[in-house]
Amino acid sequence: MAPTPPDRHSGEELVLRPPRHRAERRSIAWWTVQAVVTVLPPILILVLLAVLIPPARPWLLLSAAIIGGPGLIYIAVMPIWRFRVHRWETTGDAVFTRAGWVRQLWRVAPLSRIQTVDTVRGPIQQMFGLSTVVVTTASAAGPVRIDGLDHEFARGLVEELTVITQAASGDAT
């Protein structure tokens, strides 16, 4: 059976729409803290060394600036950009997410193929009362993650998805 070639004249081209729901607004704060925690320590160590080792000072400060410049841009830009990108949605038969910032990922997983649904909360996430829902399938491509959900809400979502996926039979491969 030969495939029909794409017909660009009959019918309109279809693209992915954004999923329906956004992450919680306080995710921006979470991502910012996370970025700061990632970027600051190496800079602080370099600056500290620069203070302690005068002969190597220019080189250490140069290294700190080389890491610090892009680092600051990352801290300033990533959280808001991420918030604009991150979306999620569940329908009667699928989980649909969009994540990332410079590199955006849309993911669709049919509920019938889901193996486990869990919540994960890192220490910084806990400070903001946020949770990530992790939906695993049998693929080695990694789980589908819904970041930046309110903790209580995430628990409800996990229960709901677990009930639906348990109703599906088979080993989801």
């Binding site: 495939p3 990922l105 669709v108 693929s139 491509a141």
Partner: protein, 502 residues
């Protein structure tokens, strides 16, 4: 065959002898080197102790290890210091892999690996290893675990044809083996006390100073290449000796092969998700291809890079044979990777590859020239030559890579093709797709260039349609798995307003 009792059984005791022999061979080699290097007498006295220690440990492991096969479970209790008890429900068993190295064969035993075909954790973690059983026991174990494997006739799907040996030199093994031959010679000289660093290499260099360099180096390169080719031929013979691909009466596929290390892999048919035809550049020029099964629990990235890939369905063989076997394995009239009409990708894919080549070349050249200006003028020359070389090599590859891209749907399969150094054509069962991923860089938003990935439980777990325009990628995904993606699609014209909605 009678179903065995539910009693616990020991491994074959000959495993102690086999491991002891293996250790004794190693130690004997070490002793020979020590004798050659005039080691003190007390070192020679120490020789038996490691052998005894290893044999003792093996004996302890043999005492502490037991396995049993119940109607529901395969169970293994093992561990000398840390005890473990692993059990696998028999319906979950998806693969049984029986292998034996030369020492195992001398002792008449074989190692049995039971795989569940589930990706959770490492592939090794999902398996249960019986190291080792007597050969008849191992074979009986395999036949009992793969249901109905011993009833009726086996069909031979494919067997080795030694004319295919011509494909052996067309592999990266030539260079790898040539390199390791040079390295191995150096190591051997070093161990034997010939002092290559301080004596031989200076002598070699002073000798090179007295002769005409070009013919000597050419001859040397040819000799090393010849060693590599002989090595690759030898490896091909070792790996694919007596290769047979069999269809068991219950539909399971069994591949057996090996000259010194024998190996037999059984794949249950229900694990099969498709096939992959892989053509590394040289092999492609020679008209040959690898054939792999896309099946749950095998063909992971790590496995593909090792010598033994359990998902191999054929040795490197002519493309026509690869297609024939792929079709037979999938029980199709024609191999979907051949039957499909692949839709080529737009010029965006080529533009992107050319841009990458030019940017890489320019960046390398720029960096070297900058350093040249700051430090030494030699680097300026090196810089522009590097830039030109990268572009000259990269541009033909860019064209080839872009030309190789393609995707399509045929019958029960979706097919995707990509790659230039190793062109892969994958046919994946449409009902084996367990999700979609679309990846797009922010700067490709306007052009709509993206990567559409079908995720599956088998093989590498994710198969890509690279550098496709979003609408065409969505049409392909929607055609492959009807109904799943459609609910998330909208006309391209209304995309902007959707994005602004809360």
């Amino acid at each position: 065959m009678t179903e065995p009792g539910e009693d616990w059984r020991r491994l074959d005791p000959r495993v102690i002898g086999a491991t002891g022999t293996w250790c004794a061979l190693l130690i004997a080699t070490a002793a020979a080197i020590m004798w050659w290097r005039d080691a003190p007498w007390w070192l020679h006295l120490a020789v038996p102790f490691p052998i005894l220690a290893v044999a003792g440990y093996e004996a302890l492991r043999w005492i502490k290890t037991a396995y049993r096969l119940t109607p529901e479970l395969v169970e293994l209790r093992t561990g000398v210091l840390v005890r473990s008890h692993r059990s696998i429900p028999r319906p979950r068993v998806r693969s049984v892999d029986v292998s034996a190295n030369p020492i195992h064969r001398l002792f008449g035993i074989a190692v049995v690996k039971v795989g569940t075909g589930h990706h959770s954790g490492s592939p090794a973690g999902a398996a249960l290893t019986l190291d080792a059983l007597a050969v008849p026991d191992a074979d009986a174990m395999r036949r009992r675990l793969i249901r109905g494997a011993d009833a009726g006739e086996q069909d031979v799907v494919a067997r080795i044809d030694w004319r295919w040996l011509r494909f052996a030199p067309l592999s990266a093994w030539v260079l790898l083996l040539a390199g390791s031959a040079v390295g191995g010679t150096y190591e051997l000289l070093d161990i034997l006390g010939a002092d290559p660093d301080t004596v031989l290499i200076p002598q070699l260099f002073s000798w090179l100073g007295t002769v005409d360099l070009l013919p000597v180096l050419t001859l040397f390169a040819l000799a090393v290449l010849l060693v590599g080719i002989v090595g690759a031929l030898g490896l091909y013979v070792e790996m694919w000796w007596d290769f047979r691909l069999l269809r068991e009466p219950n539909g399971a596929l069994r591949a057996t092969r090996g000259l010194f290390v024998t190996r037999s892999v059984t794949l249950e048919e229900e694990r099969l998700r498709g096939v992959e035809i892989a053509e590394p550049l040289l092999l492609r020029w020679g008209g040959g291809a690898y054939t792999y099964a896309v099946a749950t629990g095998t063909g992971t990235v790590e496995e593909e890079n090792s010598i033994y890939n359990a998902s191999a369905l054929l040795p490197p063989a002519p493309l026509g044979e690869a297609h024939r076997v792929a079709a037979a394995v999938l029980r199709e009239e024609e191999d979907p990777t051949e039957a499909v009409r692949l839709i080529p990708h737009t010029r965006h894919a080529l533009t992107r590859r050319l841009r990458w080549t030019l940017v890489t070349g320019a960046a390398l050249a720029g960096l070297l020239i900058l350093l040249g200006v700051l430090l030494t003028p030699v680097l300026i020359t090196v810089g522009w030559i590097t830039g030109v070389a990268v572009c000259a090599a990269g541009i033909p590859f860019s064209f080839d890579a872009a030309r190789n891209l393609g995707h399509g749907v045929t019958g029960r399969y979706l097919v995707t093709r990509h790659g230039t150094l190793k062109r892969r054509t994958i046919a994946l069962r449409r009902d084996g797709v367990i999700g979609w991923t679309v990846t797009q860089w922010a700067w490709h938003r306007r052009s709509g260039l993206c990567k559409v990935t079908a995720t599956t439980a088998g093989g590498r777990g994710a198969y890509h349609v690279k550098d496709v325009l979003l609408p065409e990628g969505m049409r392909f995904a929607d055609e492959s798995v009807p109904g799943l993606l459609r609910q998330f699609l909208i006309p391209a014209s209304s995309q902007r307003e959707q994005e602004e909605a809360p």
